[in-house]
């Protein structure tokens, strides 16, 4: 799966499942500041990723993820 395809799927999850405004979801968007996903919300996002891509994400892997782009790259490396 290409990076842009992963991004489109991630965007779809954010918009459809989490109710985030579509225009805010860009590769540069910061999860906490721009998308208002707090520490509880991150757990939801991870669950949604795991279900969508049929993968498992460890907490340690999230340490360096603070933007949509970093999340997309992490997912891309795992699928």
């Amino acid at each position: 799966m290409e990076t842009n395809e992963v991004f489109e799927k991630v965007k779809g999850l954010f918009v459809e499942d989490l109710g985030i405004d579509e225009s805010k979801v860009t590769m540069d968007a910061k999860l906490e500041e721009d998308l208002e996903i707090d520490s509880l919300g991150i757990v939801e996002v991870v669950m949604a990723f795991e279900d969508e891509f049929d993968i498992e994400i460890d907490d340690e892997e999230l340490a360096d993820v603070s933007t949509v782009g970093q999340a997309v790259n992490l997912l891309h490396s795992k699928i």
Binding site: L18, G19, I20, D21, E36, L40, G41, V43, E44, M47
Partner: protein, 412 residues
């Protein structure tokens, strides 16, 4: 030193009758029922297929999906009711209310629909798939916390869970907080959204609910011989309460006074009222005394009046014990006949009704009261509202657990 007087300056409500105060009041005095067949879930396997549901409210539309999906429905309703009440009180909802404003909300069962969903997910998909927001949605104090966050209420906060007396206790404790000078303003009320399949099923198991599936609008019939249980309802009602000085200094409109509060416990049985409503009697007496009144000065009683065989009989007996011969002269009504039982949201709704009854000089009726029980022989305002100038009102709320919360209101 005389006690500080406590006034109501704002009202907000969302309930089976309407999504604002004006619509709700109009339906109340017209004797319209807000009870109907349940539409929010499939009732095929349930013995009871009707309830008082809130209608025409879309939380996603009201607060945006990103925010709405983080909250249980009981919190959607309480945030909505609070916003309405604050605006009604002439307060700017854009500014944080700050540390001189407290919040006291009552709820019977908190975020029960979230609890049910989380258990289903756990059973079907395991622990790792449980909604990470489940705990923050299901805890009973969730609404209190969420309303405080939304409106920046930084003073003392309490969540009261005395079942069906919860929000009467909330209004009473808020009154005491203001009267004692803890803060000048308290957002007080209650919320409940327990119209779920498990809850309806479980209340049915204790034979507490009416099973009149043929005529839902006639199912709740307090004090009537044919009554066969209460009707589940959902909703939230919030009162902006403040010291009289605070209201006068900011030029706020005053609806009326929360003058007295009595709280007792039956300490007898977890669901059945003590014989003759012994605990209720003392709660009524304490509320009247707290208001600085005598029993001869109470003009109207908004009864707990659930439409269960036990409550209505014992509440009637308790009123007779408190008021003696005068019990037969006092105007009484049960507005649950129209809303159903809002559980933890009921006391605040009925506090609002009591305040409006005094202010508007109209007593809402007890509908479906066509054939009174012999043991229920007081003036329950059957089926039609009555116009009457009144000075004082009392509102009774009694909850499973044996909790009794009684409020007394004055017009001026």
């Amino acid at each position: 030193m005389s006690k500080r007087r406590v006034v109501v300056t704002g009202l907000g409500t969302i309930n089976p009758l309407g999504n604002n105060v004006a619509d709700s009041w109009e339906k109340l005095i017209n004797g319209d029922s807000g009870i109907d067949y349940i539409t929010s879930f499939d009732t095929e396997d349930l013995p009871v297929k009707f309830a008082g549901e809130v209608k025409g409210f879309d939380a996603n539309e009201y607060m945006g999906k990103q925010h709405a999906r983080k909250l249980d429905r009981s919190s959607h309703l309480s945030i909505y009711a609070t916003e309405k009440a604050l605006k009604d009180a002439g307060l700017d909802t854009k500014n944080r209310l700050g540390p001189n404003v407290g919040i006291v909300l009552g709820t019977g069962i908190g975020g029960i629909s979230t609890t049910e969903q989380a258990v289903r997910t756990f059973d079907e998909r395991g622990a790792s798939r449980i909604n990470p927001l489940a705990i923050t949605q299901l805890m009973p104090n969730s609404s209190t916390g969420q309303v405080a966050i939304k409106f920046g209420i930084e003073g003392p906060s309490l969540t009261i869970t005395t079942a069906c007396a919860a929000s009467a206790n909330a209004v009473g404790e808020a009154k005491n907080m203001i009267q004692n000078g803890v803060v000048d303003m308290v957002i007080a009320g209650g919320t409940e959204s327990g119209t779920t399949s498990m809850t309806i099923g479980a209340f049915s198991q204790i034979r507490a609910l009416s099973t009149n599936n043929e005529n839902p609008k006639e199912a709740c019939r307090p004090f009537d011989k044919e009554r066969d249980g209460f009707v589940m309802g959902e909703g939230s009602t919030v009162l902006v309460m403040e010291s009289e000085e605070s209201a006068l200094s900011r030029g706020a409109r005053i609806y009326g006074y929360v003058a007295g509060y009595g709280s007792t416990t039956d300490a007898y049985h977890i669901t059945a009222p003590a014989e003759g409503g012994k605990g209720a009697v003392v709660a009524m007496q304490k509320a009247i005394a707290d208001a600085g009144l005598t029993k001869d000065e109470v003009d109207y009683i908004n009864a707990h009046g659930t439409s269960t065989p036990a409550n209505d009989k014992n509440e009637t007996a308790a009123i007779k014990t408190v008021f003696g011969e005068r019990a037969y002269e006092i105007d009484i009504s049960s507005t649950k006949s129209m809303t159903g039982h809002l559980l933890g949201g009921g006391g605040a709704f009925e506090a609002m009704v009591s305040v409006l009854t005094l202010k508007n000089g109209v007593i809402p009726p007890t509908i479906n009261l066509n054939n009174p029980d012999e043991e229920c022989d007081l003036k329950y305002t059957p089926n039609n509202a009555i116009k009457k100038e009144l000075s004082t009102a009392m509102s009774n709320s009694f909850g499973f657990g044996g909790h009794n919360g009684v409020l007394v209101f004055k017009k001026d």
